[in-house]
Amino acid sequence: MSAVTRYTRTAIVLHWLVAALIAAAVGLGLYAVSLELSPQKLKLYSWHKWVGVTIFLLAVARLAWRAWHPAPTPVASLRPWERRLAGATHALLYVLLLAVPVTGWLMSSASGFPVVYLGLVQLPDLVAKNKELAETLKVVHFVLNKIMLALVALHVAAALKHHFVDRDNTLRRMLSWRA
């Protein structure tokens, strides 16, 4: 089997789409939390939840796609610990792409404000309304987000380091549109 050297277009599109949606979800979430209760706040919360559900669905799609279309092997110049760190970061990011929306969903259910995706599909409540549980899940949702953002920062820093310091192909593989 020949070594894979590039990402598929589908993988590239999904990667950047999820990146943009994470930025949108974090922005919407933080801004909505800061607002006084208003119709605007309710709208932003709903949109935040819709974006979160979309991220979850796209993360599942990415994992499925990746199972059939392996990611390229890391560039040869990588040291073993760098390879391990990159692998662990990517794995943990995938875990959080699933876990962060799920904690938001559970938190919504526990708060008594279920999620109605795009205003069309009501997600089932996996937990009953419960104030204490809602408070706990709020903290878990927030902390997991902080961990995810720290990992995203590491991920971006590593990509920039490969591009500008090592001057290797790592970042270009995720940007290149040529088939």
Partner: protein, 179 residues
């Protein structure tokens, strides 16, 4: 025999001084925001029910709800609900319902018409009520819907019914211990 049972039942009913079992009783509502159904309840209310199965038209129901006791599951929403655009509890702390006519609509089923006063506005409404007896206890249960804007509940920017729907569903279960 049936006559005797009916007579006894009627005696019990008319003798009832409406000692309400607050643990089993419940006055709850469901409003819809961004297509998301949100449930809540009122913790404090008083109910005086005089029920006469033989002469339903002589029955009466009076319910007073302490609007400050609203519980939506969100402290922010509870505070907002007490403010001027919503219930304006500083000025209108109580919602009242006074029945004006009660008629039989089927076996153990009745239709109660009465005046609901909320935020200084009175509207006539009709609600179906199911009456069930277990020993000395009588359970009155029913559900109906009102349009919040008929009572100026949620005016100003909140009057936008795309965010918070106009229709609010109400459910009640009043358990009279018969003591």
């Amino acid at each position: 025999m049936r006559f005797v049972v009916a007579l006894l039942a009627s005696l019990f009913a008319t003798a009832a001084s409406a000692a309400i079992d607050m643990k089993q009783s419940r006055i709850a509502f469901t409003f819809v925001q961004m297509k998301v159904p949100v449930e809540g309840a009122f913790q404090r209310y008083t109910a005086k029910v005089h029920f006469d199965a033989q002469q339903p038209e002589r029955s009466r129901a009076e319910i007073d709800i302490d609007l400050n006791s609203i519980d939506t599951g969100s402290a922010d929403a509870d505070t907002e609900a007490r403010r001027k655009p919503w219930f304006y509890t500083a000025q209108y702390p109580t919602a009242t319902f006074r029945s004006t006519s009660i008629r039989r609509a089927g076996v153990d089923r009745y239709e109660v018409t009465g005046a609901l006063t909320l935020k200084g506005r009175t509207r006539t409404l009709t609600a179906p009520v199911e009456v069930r007896r277990a020993g000395a206890q009588t359970v009155y249960e029913g559900a109906f819907a009102i349009n919040r804007l008929d009572y100026a509940i949620g005016d100003g920017p909140w009057a936008d019914t795309d965010t918070v729907a106009n229709e609010v569903k109400l459910r009640f279960r009043i358990v009279d211990t018969g003591k």
